[in-house]
């Protein structure tokens, strides 16, 4: 009550009510429902889940629309041109126009395609992508579905995407589709391993597979100003970079967009899809990207915690989406900057560099834990990572092998 006169916004109650506005809104809606209809408890539970699902879909489909236009605009700026600026103010209504175009396009199914599998593939891939969003804590008390093995759920659902990509490629009965699907599965399986192994140190240090606990473990500040996010430890920083790169591969983004390389195999597994089915694939790809960046923010960037204690009056969900947007911007930036890699480069990188480094993170996290989690642990885990990194880079150095190129499969 004393601080109230200084600044109304800094008052804990005001900040808290803004922070919990969505949670309280949902509670109010549910209590309204139960008092108006007198529905039994399980109806209220179902209604609560439905509200969560609707909120999730509304937020992320809006984000998808926004992202599709912002990506084109940022890419335009990187390439020294304007990007979409005709539809609506600053071209912001472009996704609406695109959506209408996609909806009224003809849906073509190839005559020789396997109709059922061809039809089911986009549905399965979109369902898997959206399900993965459910376990991420978007703010204080704002996890749509808080389950015990949340991290495991994320990867279990994500692994069904491979089967869906495969169904798309095989069901289309087209050589380009098949090749694209094979490439996609090869690189997705290779990078799923480091993706999971880089998550393990976090799970080990926190002692829980539940995303909420992982976020809670990153609360507080060392020396009063450095947040206790895992990205500020040596193993956390390494794991974060490896996780980010693996996530880039999993979502088939540009330096690793071999499965749908336009100049090589038309559009990969999506070649035979048109109209709204193609849009569904596109949407699933973006939603998968949101999910993997959201998980990266949760695991390493402290989830919804604010970077400075002085900034804690800003609601938690604002911080989460700020971190999400920052990571998504890096995705776009990389797309505008890097050329496409070859499939053998991707595979070599995965098995010879990323996999040993992710195991190193695991060991470094153990060293950090047993050296007391303080400055000493910080230094020791840094030493471990530095030694392995140097050894690996000396081992994998190919500079001395410069010689005329030898073609093995073409003359």
């Amino acid at each position: 009550m004393i601080n109230q006169s200084i600044d109304g916004f800094l008052h804990p109650n005001v900040s808290k009510s803004v922070d919990q506005i969505f949670v309280n809104g949902k509670q109010w809606l549910l209590s309204l429902l139960s008092s108006l209809t007198g529905a039994p408890v399980w109806v209220i539970q179902v209604a609560s889940s439905l509200i969560n699902i609707l909120a999730l879909l509304a937020v992320f489909l809006t984000l998808f629309a926004l992202m599709s236009v912002l990506e084109r605009k940022i890419l335009g700026r990187i390439q020294n041109r304007y990007g979409p600026n005709r539809v609506g103010p600053f071209g912001l209504l472009q996704p609406l126009a695109d959506g209408i175009k996609m909806l009224i396009k003809e849906d073509i199914v190839p005559a020789r395609a396997d109709k059922l599998v061809h039809f089911l593939a986009p549905i399965l891939i979109a369902a898997a992508a959206i399900l993965a969003l459910g376990i991420i804590p978007y703010g204080r008390n704002m996890t749509p579905f808080a389950i015990d093995g949340g991290i495991l759920f994320f990867f279990a659902v994500g692994s069904t995407t491979e089967l869906a990509v495969f169904m798309a490629g095989w069901g289309s009965n087209n050589k380009f589709s098949m090749l694209g699907a094979m490439r996609a599965i090869a690189q997705m399986i290779s990078y799923e391993l480091p993706l999971i192994i880089t998550v393990l140190p976090v799970v080990m240090v926190v002692g829980s597979l539940m995303p909420d606990r992982i976020v809670a473990a990153q609360a507080g500040y060392t020396f009063g100003f450095v947040p206790r996010w895992f990205v500020f430890t040596p193993w956390g920083a390494t794991a974060f970079i490896l996780f980010f790169v693996s996530g880039l591969v999993e979502s088939n983004r540009t330096p690793f967009d071999v499965p749908e390389g336009e100049s090589e195999i038309v559009a990969g597994h999506m070649t035979e899809y048109s109209g709204f089915k193609y849009a569904t694939f596109f949407m699933a790809e973006y939603i998968g990207m949101f999910a993997i960046t959201g998980l990266a923010a949760t695991l390493f960037l402290g989830g919804w915690h604010s970077p400075l204690s002085a900034l804690e009056f800003i609601p938690s969900y604002v911080w989460f989406f700020a971190k999400l947007s920052a990571l998504l911007f890096v995705y776009i930036w990389l797309r505008g900057t890097l050329p496409r890699t070859r499939i053998d480069q991707i595979m070599n990188f995965a098995w010879k560099f990323i996999l040993p480094m992710s195991f190193t993170c695991f060991i470094a996290a153990a060293v950090w834990h047993y050296a007391g989690r303080g400055l000493r642990g910080w230094l020791w885990s840094f030493v471990v990572i530095a030694i392995i990194y140097t050894a690996l880079s000396m081992l994998l150095d190919t500079r001395r092998k410069f010689a005329p190129r030898v073609y093995r499969f073409a003359e």
Partner: protein
Amino acid sequence: MSSAAAVIIAILMLAAALAAATLQKLMHATLSFAAALVGVAAFFFLFSAEFVGLVLVFVYIGAVAVLIVFTILLTRRDVGNDRGVNWGGAFLAVAVFGGLTLAILKTQSVTIVAPHIRTLTVKRIGEALMTSYVWPLLCVGLLLTAALIGALVLVMEEKR
């Protein structure tokens, strides 16, 4: 409500399993097999063994089903054009089913006194794996490593 869900899941799972055994195209059979595995996972979820269900989805759909699909693609196309009734397989299936049924029927009436089952958390599974089951776990790990190295040796090209 739980038993109704169990019956519905069982029907869907058995239908998918039957489809996996009888469908003409191998690829369709594989996809139905994956659907049947989803049914098994749903059972685990229904009986609140979340962890086992999730691992099942993760390993069997994410890895095993994809592996089967790869195997089908990398082998010859004309395999499986005439899939007659495999009498040996049918006999084996009936024998296994009969044996299991017999064993279940001969078992003394399973008196479940409903012990206070603690909820199966991930932590408890981890503790069990790291204390009482540590040797089996290490043996399985060794076996898998040996299999992995063997596979690598098989496909390695000789550089001479």
